[in-house]
Amino acid sequence: MKKTTRTAMIGAFLAASLAFSAQAGGMNTELVIDTDNGPVKIITHVKNPPKGSPLSELYSGWVFRSKETQALETDDFDNPGMIFVEQARDAWNTPDGTVGKSCADCHGDPSSMKGLRTVLPRWDAKLGKLMTLEDYVNESRVKYMGAKPWKYGGGQLTAMVALISMQSRGMPVNVKTDGPVRKFWELGKKLYYTRVGQLDMACSNCHEDNYGKYIRADHLSQGQINGFPAYRLKNAKLNSVHGRFKGCMKNIRATPYKVGSDEFKALELYVASRGNGLSVEAPSVRN
């Protein structure tokens, strides 16, 4: 074999393996988002999930969306979810409540929140309870601002959660599953595998056993929540994790738990832990 031919073959082989690493079963996993602070690389595919994971590989929901939907997330300028994030940024800087303070008065720039999203929900030893990001925002509003809590799952709170989550974009999700949160994690796991509704399905039936397949026109994802709050083209707004859980339960004709309930917080913790290693991606764009 001539040297040039061999070099060309090695080159072709390298190109092919590079192409393969960027594709998983024909799916594009390369996501770099153009942001005001430069490009941010998002981990949408984890080949070797943490030990004990029920999934052999992890995929962000972004991987399962159409090219057109995917493209909307590659540039913050095109991401429709950013309209709501900007509203939250205004709220961040605006005093509210009897104390007359804004978020910014104590926390400065939202970037001070970097990393927080990656570890939530978590057990808060001081407060003695499981805390979601929504809980922390409302805790702050009530305790330090003298303001009314925002409605769990409502537009204002979900937008603020998106703004704070966004500060951790690109960082891997890393929620704890042991220690005091273990009982909530166990409850979440139980809920995940419990069949509900007249259609008699558990989360796992679609998102563990059948992800990657089509259910009618919908490409089933792993149901990862690293991209939440998510802007959905379907309803043209930011959607909270609990709002999405509720929608899923209604689809299978089950009475959903309440948005903000202990059950949904436990499920959020469990589902977040199944995505440990994927990047925080909020606000993502989905169909």
Partner: protein, 152 residues
Amino acid sequence: MKPYQLALIPASFLAMATLASAGTIKPDDVVFAPNGAVSTSLTGTPGDPANGRKVFANRKLGNCLACHKNSDLSEQQFHGEIGPALDGVAERYDEAQLRGILVNSKKTFEGTIMPSFYRLKNGARTMKKFQGKTILTAQQVEDVVAYLKTLK
């Protein structure tokens, strides 16, 4: 026709209707063979394949296309791929097996994702408006069975 004879006409219709519903097997009374098959018709009334085709495609009834490809319904877009394609399903299963899978899929395929279309007790937290109700009526099940039998 005398007045009392006229009065008998609605009475006889009523009797027929009663007979028909008496012939319907209730969800809890369905008898399954060890392999999950149900050999007795749920209604005693032969299934209507044309209506079965409609029930099959209707998103609020069978919604079978959500999970199954079926070339006979190629006019409908987007066939799911969760379950096996149903082309030629009549060659693979007999009537009793098809009925059994529709009534309670879990008796044939343990742990399957497929809903049970003629069973009262389903998953936890079933919405109030669906409690104590089957997804399909007995006759709709028979109609879908009749339709599936045409897929050869």
